[in-house]
Every structure is written in structure tokens, then in C-alpha cells.
Amino acid sequence: MDAGCGEIRKMMVDQLNGRTSADAEEAIRLHVAECEACQAYQDELLGDDRLLSEWAGREESGMTAGIERVIGLLDAVWEQPVLDTRRAGRGRLRLQGAIAAGLLIGVGLAAGLAGSRALSGPHGQAAAGALSPEARAAVIEEVLARVRGEIEQSGTVVRQELRTEVAQQIEKVAADLDTVLDRDRQWLASTLNDMEQRHRTDRASVHGDLAKLARMTETEFARTRQYMVRGPYGGGEVRPREGGERSSSRGQL
């Protein structure tokens, strides 16, 4: 592919999009006569174009039916109040109702026509009071489709409402939990405070008791010492203990 191929291929695409000129077409024609790769590319582009056209063509009958259906419904819809696009959801429901009603009327009319035609045939009397099977099937199919649509839409609304309700409940529970947690936090803080205060009081009291005990011990120790050094009568004799040799020997010291 030389430098000109890119430009030519762009022209080919433009040509398919309807933007072309006699000069561009001539340039393409001359180029593909010389360049096999671009010739192949053009063939492939044309193949894609054909496939796309065929794809759109397959929907042609559906589009024609759609046009006729809309035209058939215009009278039914015209009686409805003007819709507000901001309330398209509700509007859609009303429109669907109108569409369903219109379809029923349309199919009913078609059935009536079929019936009146049948009256002129050999079995006219038998067919006069009944819908043709095709018409009946069409009515049932349309009604079912509409009912299904309505149910789906109602389901969507109910789901949304449920979702909102659940979200509100969750929010409420979360708020309640917050309150409970706050209360617990306050209780814990106050309990800790009390415990700390009690601990301080207890410590002070223990210190006091220990000091008292130390003082008492000291007094007792002094008294014992005095007793041991001077004896109970202050004269230095030690009063002998009954049957105690050690006491008497200590007294001799």
C-alpha cells in the first residue's frame, strides 16, 4: 500500500456515505485499476454495505406495520390529556392503556370485517356469531402482551418502593444503634470514672493504714527493745522465764 492508498480508501468510505464527487470517483477508479489491495478493500466495504442494507431491509415490514399501527391509534390517543415529559413514567402507563384499547378496537374491527365477509360465504350463518381463530389468537396475544407489560411495570414500581422502604428502615436501625452506642459509651465513661475515684480513695486509705501499722510496729519494737535491755522493772534484771535456761543465761550477761 503506497501513500495514496490511505487517501483513496478514505474516499471509498466517503463514497459509501454519499459524500463524493466526480473527481473522487475518477481517482478511485484509476487507483483500483492499478492497486489490487485497494480493489479488495473496496469489494469488502461494498460487501459490508450490502449486509447492512439487508439487515435494515429485514425490518422494513415491521416499520410499515408500526406506521400503520400508530396511525390507527391517533384518534384514541388524541382524547388523552397532554403528557408532561417529566412525568413520562405515568404518561407511559396511560399511553399503554390507550395503545391496548386501540389495539383491541382495531383487532375487533378486523374481526368484524372478517365476520361480515364470512356471511356472504356458504358457511356464513355458522361463522356470523364467532371470531375467526386468527382474530381471536391475535386479540389474546395482544392482550397478554399488554398485561405482561403492565405487570412488569408494576413490578418495577413495587421493587423501587420496597427498596426505598428497606433503605429507610436500615437508616432508622442505624440511627437507633447510634443512640444505643452513645448511651453505652457514656455509661462506660462514667463507670470508669467511678472506678478510678474509688481506686484513689482505696489507695489513700491503704497508705494511711500502712503508716499507722508502721508507727505501731515502731512503738512495739521500741517497747520490746526497752524490755530486753532494761527488763520490765527498769533495773536491768531480766525476769527469768519459767524453766528457760537460755533466759537465765541471758540474764547473767
Binding site: 456515505n17 454519499g18 469488502e44 439487515w55 406506521i67 397532554v82 413514567g89 418495577t156
Partner: protein
């Protein structure tokens, strides 16, 4: 009242709207509305419902069409709003549109190659290419309907074709 009355004549604001004249507008513009809806939601049934709804809403609101305002961009704006509403409202459509980007080439039958490839395009390329093929291959009509310049339409169509060319020739 003739169709021209809707195409810029102050009579479009008249409360007496002629049903046959509107029917003519439906015949003329239904395809582009359908193509826009198909490009947006990429589902034939949904596109059909939305196109019909658009034309009926348009009929109800035709009295509000401003003098000098053209019908085609006006009705396509209604269609675009309805499509966006439908996509927002319908979870299934949303999920399907998300799946489009995840679906592999092996997941679809051979004969839907082109439809599959178009599905893969981003919306700004998909809508013009669908409108091109479903509404008479007129780039100027797309520019008019989407309210963008003609050169922008050509650019998008070119990008779309280049991408389609690649997608259709990717290895399986």
C-alpha cells in the same frame, strides 16, 4: 391543515390539529424515529414500542411545537428523552446494554454478524450508522435530526465503518 403547517407555520400552535396531516408526518418520520430508538436501545421490540410511543406523544404535544421549529429534530428529541427514560427505568435494558460490551463473537449465530458488530459500537457511532441504513442513507437527515453538523455526521459514519470493518474481520 397541510403538513407544512407543522414545519414552521404559526398554525402549528393551533388547537385544531389535523389527524390526516399528522398521519403524513408519521409516515415520513417514523423510520428515523425508529432508527434512533434502535440505535439507543438496540432491541427491535423496545425500539418499536418506543418509536410508537414517541409518535403518539408527539401527536399529543404538537400544539406546543414552537412557530419556526422543525418537526424532525423536535420529534427526535422526544424519542431521545423517552429512550433515556426507558434505559434508566428498565434494569433489563441496562443490563443488556452492559452485556453488549462483554459478549464475545462466538456467542452469536453466523447470520447476525453485522447486527453483532453494530451492537459493539459506542452509542455516538451506533446511532448515526443505524439511522443511515434505516432511514434512506441520508447523512443530511441525520445531521438535521441529531442537531449536529454534517461534517460531524460524516466523521462519525467514517469511524463507524472503519470499526465495523475491523470487527467483521476479527479472528474467531
Amino acid at each position: 391543515m397541510s403538513r407544512g403547517a407543522y414545519e414552521g407555520n404559526p398554525a402549528a400552535r393551533s388547537h385544531v390539529v389535523d389527524r390526516p396531516a399528522y398521519a403524513e408526518l408519521v409516515r415520513e418520520h417514523y423510520r428515523c424515529v425508529y432508527a434512533l430508538c434502535l440505535g439507543m436501545v438496540f432491541n427491535h421490540e423496545d425500539a418499536r414500542d418506543l418509536a410508537q410511543e414517541t409518535m403518539l406523544v408527539g401527536f399529543q404535544k404538537i400544539r406546543h411545537l414552537e412557530a419556526g421549529e422543525r418537526f424532525r429534530p423536535w420529534i427526535l428529541q422526544i424519542a431521545r428523552n423517552l429512550c433515556i427514560d426507558a434505559i434508566r427505568r428498565d434494569r433489563a435494558t441496562r443490563q443488556r446494554l452492559v452485556r453488549l460490551t462483554q459478549r464475545g463473537r462466538e456467542d452469536r449465530p453466523e447470520h447476525t454478524d453485522v447486527a453483532w458488530a453494530v451492537e459493539q459500537l459506542p452509542r455516538e457511532l451506533r446511532v448515526p450508522i443505524v439511522m443511515f441504513y434505516f432511514d434512506g442513507k441520508r447523512a443530511e437527515a441525520i445531521a438535521d435530526g441529531l442537531n449536529i453538523s454534517r461534517s460531524n455526521v460524516y466523521k462519525r459514519l467514517q469511524d463507524a465503518r472503519t470499526r465495523l470493518y475491523e470487527l467483521l474481520r476479527e479472528d474467531h
